[in-house]
Amino acid sequence: MTSTAPAARAATPQRLRFHGQGGTLFGIQIVNLLLTIVTLGIYSFWAKVRVRRYLYGQTEFTGDRFAYHGRGKELFIGALKAFGLIVLFYVLLVIAQMLIGDVAVLLLYLAILVAIPFALYGAMRYALSRTSWRGIRFSFRGDLKECISTYLGGMLLTLLTLGIYYPWFRTRMRSYWVNNTYFGNTPFRFQADAKELIGGYLLAILLTIPTLYLVWFWFAAKVHRFDWAHTQFAEAPFRSTYTGGGLLWLTISNLLLVVVTLGLAFPWVLIRTLRYQFDNTLMEGQVDWTRVQQDAQARVGATGEGLADALDIGSALG
């Protein structure tokens, strides 16, 4: 499968298109807010599902929409389980402190360090398992041990090299996330050498103070372009058209919107952000979609997502 038909190569790039409207999302979130208050917060899980259903349903790729299949009940149970895990951990910590004294604090840090990749892994598995396009589910099939060892190893090397290793660390994590992501029976592919990033990374560090941190917008755009330039699905490559200026303007204008409206513009901010992301990520080349087949996986619970929420860490792919 190394040769691609000439017709496919010449085909126009296919974009994700986002159709969501700030006003509609605002309406959904206002009703969600009321129900959340009245139920003393319990409804927030169902509220999340409503928002996600809307956002996924408004995301189009070559004429068809994505769909979110999560349920409020499973998010609620996942959050309860994560809460239980954290309480259990604190109880164990208190016992450990009584037995071995303040060394227990070290255990705490170690546990949090392990919990982060564990939670990211769980959240990723859950999020992909509840996402579909054209009725075909996504899935994440990575190995948990590999996730934790890659994460902890990379973290350690980054610390030891005073941050120099960071481009390799994040590229290895990216490779782990993308190469284990499947759409139906077909995996995504990511192959890249972090050497490409090191120049920009060192430059960004050097220019941090002179540019008052603004240089990091350009580095973030570079990383996004790098990530997608090395990602493929069924031989079809992706391309990102992020620019530093674009990201900077998006951030500043969003910040202004939130401040001026005292936060009421949050739905519009979310939609502008998604629109920028989708407008600037495209797939080049054609995929024979009939070859992509459903490939049902074992059911995944939402504990990982709950834990990631509890630890206040975002999704793995950002």
Partner: protein
């Protein structure tokens, strides 16, 4: 002949799509694909997309993966279904109902604000009060110890010398004037120029030497002690703790952040640093403290006098840590206390300490200073 609607069929097996023509029947949809005709009964259909503007209609059949689905871009398809099969297809979204949405949103906004305000103003305080009343005293004491410990920090605690027996005597007199209660009052005197006094849950009271040295007679100290003892007796600290905890819990639940909620529950003791009470709690401590002064037959005017002393000493700006910053000496507060003190109508006990002797005692309370 009925109109046929064009749509796409997803078989749930491959990511390819098949163009289909859909006819609307009374009990079912008739879906004509190149491979053959399918009949989907409305009872087996769930609608997963097409409730909002800009979304195509998506109808699914079955619940276990793989489910198959049909997609129709034209929203009029739904209206046509409702026109033909209003009963059988009643679970499907009716686009006609969208018109009422802005009204719902406006109602929800008003309702949300009202519900939030009601919860914040009445619900949480009532719940906090109910919870605080059920907390065992040992728990309050333990909590209070943590608070006192963190407040005192590295400051030097002083025994108090000749003032100590007077403090103990005043506390004992005031205590006897209070109705029966389970608390054991312990006054900690710290060597610090800050003019302040605080009460922690469970009976711990902290008096800064700065405040002690500002008093010109023991009855003024008795006034401060009576006020702080009432904070303990009325469980103001425990109530405010529960209240703040519930507020934070509610806030973090609102933004769907259970992690924050978890942290709130686990970090209770840490949020205790700022022990400031509501105005209602301060008034209650004033009035009940004054009654306690009178019950103990102490000179009730001492409680009012102290504000005068503070004003003279600190001027109008008490600074962020001063007694007046946590106990604002508003005009109506002083007037109320003055009114209560004037009604006393009894002969106060003579503590047998002259202002001059008191001044010497409080100056030496924490040992000699440079």
């Amino acid at each position: 002949m009925q109109r046929l609607w064009s749509g796409r069929y997803l078989d749930g097996v491959s990511a390819g799509t098949v163009d289909v023509e859909i006819g609307i029947g009374r009990e079912a949809l008739r879906i004509a694909a190149p491979a053959g005709v399918m009949i989907w009964r409305y009872a087996d259909i769930t609608q997963t997309q097409g409730r909002y503007a800009g979304e195509p209609v998506r109808l699914e059949r079955g619940t276990q993966v793989p489910v198959d689905a049909i997609i129709v871009d034209d929203i009029a398809f739904l209206a046509a279904i409702h026109a033909t099969a209003p009963q059988a297809a009643r679970r499907l979204h009716n686009p006609a109902r969208r018109r009422g949405r802005p009204l719902w949103v406006a109602a929800a906004a008003v309702g949300g604000i009202l519900a939030g305000a009601a919860l914040y103003l009445w619900g949480i305080p009532a719940a906090a009060e109910a919870m605080a009343e059920r907390v065992p005293v040992e728990w309050e004491e333990k909590l209070g110890d943590t608070v006192v410990e963190s407040l005192v920090g590295d400051l030097k605690v002083c025994e108090g010398g000749a003032v100590r027996p007077v403090i103990d005597d005043l506390v004992a007199r005031l205590d006897r004037a209070a109705p029966a209660h389970p608390y054991d009052f312990r006054v900690t005197l710290v060597d610090d120029p800050t003019v302040n006094a605080l009460a922690a849950p469970g009976g711990g009271i902290v008096v800064f030497s700065g405040l002690l040295q500002d008093t010109t007679r023991p009855e003024q100290l008795a006034g401060v002690l009576a006020h702080e003892m009432q904070h303990v007796l009325q469980r103001h600290g425990t109530k405010s703790l529960f209240r703040r905890m519930s507020n934070r819990l509610l806030l973090s639940l609102l933004v769907g952040d259970l992690g924050g909620a978890t942290a709130t529950v686990l970090e209770t003791a840490e949020s205790l640093h700022g022990l400031s009470y509501s105005r209602a709690a301060e008034t209650e401590a004033d009035v009940r403290g004054m009654h306690m002064m009178q019950g103990a037959r102490l000179d009730a005017r001492g409680m009012v006098e102290f504000f005068g002393v503070l004003e003279k000493h600190d001027g109008p700006d008490p600074g962020p840590l001063g007694y007046l910053s946590t106990h604002p000496a508003t005009r109506d507060r002083i007037a109320r206390l003055q009114g209560l003190a004037d009604q006393s109508g009894y002969r106060p006990v003579d503590l047998g300490i002259t202002p001059k002797a008191w001044k010497a005692m409080v100056a030496a309370a924490c040992g000699p200073h440079d």
